[in-house]
């Protein structure tokens, strides 16, 4: 009997002093902060001038052109090529516009809801 009590106490340790606490797992939402980058500076385009030249107005064009530019030298575009150039520019404009809208979409998508901000 005198041996039994110390044996029991030693084998049970301190388990009877305090009950085992249950493990609690908590999932906490951590917000990712995505900085919005500043946009590139806007484009500044210089004006250009197209001359419409026909057989009838060639002499008039020649005098005017030399007066404005000094020499009679330049680059000639056919009407078809001018149309192609205009369509190419329109295509570039479309691409820029759509690219910009997609950037705005993503900026809005990563911006938190106003209600959520108020709660915080």
């Amino acid at each position: 009997m005198s041996l039994l009590i110390p044996t029991l106490l030693l084998s049970s340790g301190c388990s009877s002093w305090r009950s085992v606490l249950p493990v609690e797992v908590k999932t906490v939402e951590v917000e990712r902060k995505i900085p919005l980058q500043t946009r590139p500076s806007p484009v500044r385009l210089n004006d250009i001038h197209f001359y419409v030249v026909t057989e009838q107005n060639f002499e008039e064009f020649k005098n005017k052109f030399i007066k404005e530019n000094g020499d009679l030298v330049g680059y000639v575009l056919s009407v078809r090529d001018y149309e192609t150039l205009a369509l190419n520019m329109a295509e570039i404009k479309r691409y820029l516009q759509q690219q910009k809208e997609i950037i705005i979409y993503y900026e809005k998508a990563v911006t938190p809801n106003q209600e959520k901000e108020k709660q915080e």
């Binding site: 500043t38 946009r39 484009v43 026909t54 009407v79 205009a86 295509e91 404009k93 979409y105 900026e107």
Partner: protein
């Protein structure tokens, strides 16, 4: 002597009943406490889940709206080219240039300037309000 035995048995029985009652009371109190804690925890978890669901639903609505808005703007970006193609199909530019070179020159230069201006406006910074955002 018999009375003493009976008394011991009765006292034992009464004691057993009293101890049983006390044990039952303590056990019930403990259960009630555990259940109350569980209920409170479940309530908090339910509330948190509701909040999460609400946030997800709001996000979904927000993305749907943004997608519709984006699609509409992407379609609108095609307008300029479509109008230009229509104009070039409608008018014979070579013929018109032969007939009225001065007028066409003015028109194409105005059109070019207008296009350059629109490209400049397109690249203007609109919303420099906030530098950081969260997701």
């Amino acid at each position: 002597m018999l009375k003493i035995y009976i008394l011991i048995v009765v006292v034992g029985l009464v004691g057993g009943v009293v101890y049983g009652g006390y044990y039952y009371y303590k056990d019930t109190q403990s259960r009630i406490q555990t259940l109350t804690e569980n209920s409170a925890r479940l309530e908090a978890v339910t509330k948190e889940q509701d909040n999460t669901i609400n946030v997800l639903v709001k996000d979904q609505q927000k993305f749907e709206e943004l997608n519709i808005e984006l699609q509409s703007k992407l379609d609108k970006a095609n307008e300029y080219k479509d109008v230009l193609i229509g104009k070039l199909r409608k008018h014979d530019l070579a013929k018109l240039s032969m007939q009225k070179p001065g007028l066409i020159e003015k028109r194409i230069n105005n059109g070019t300037n207008k296009l350059f201006k629109s490209l400049e406006e397109l690249t203007v910074i609109e919303s420099p309000d906030s530098n950081t955002s969260t997701q």
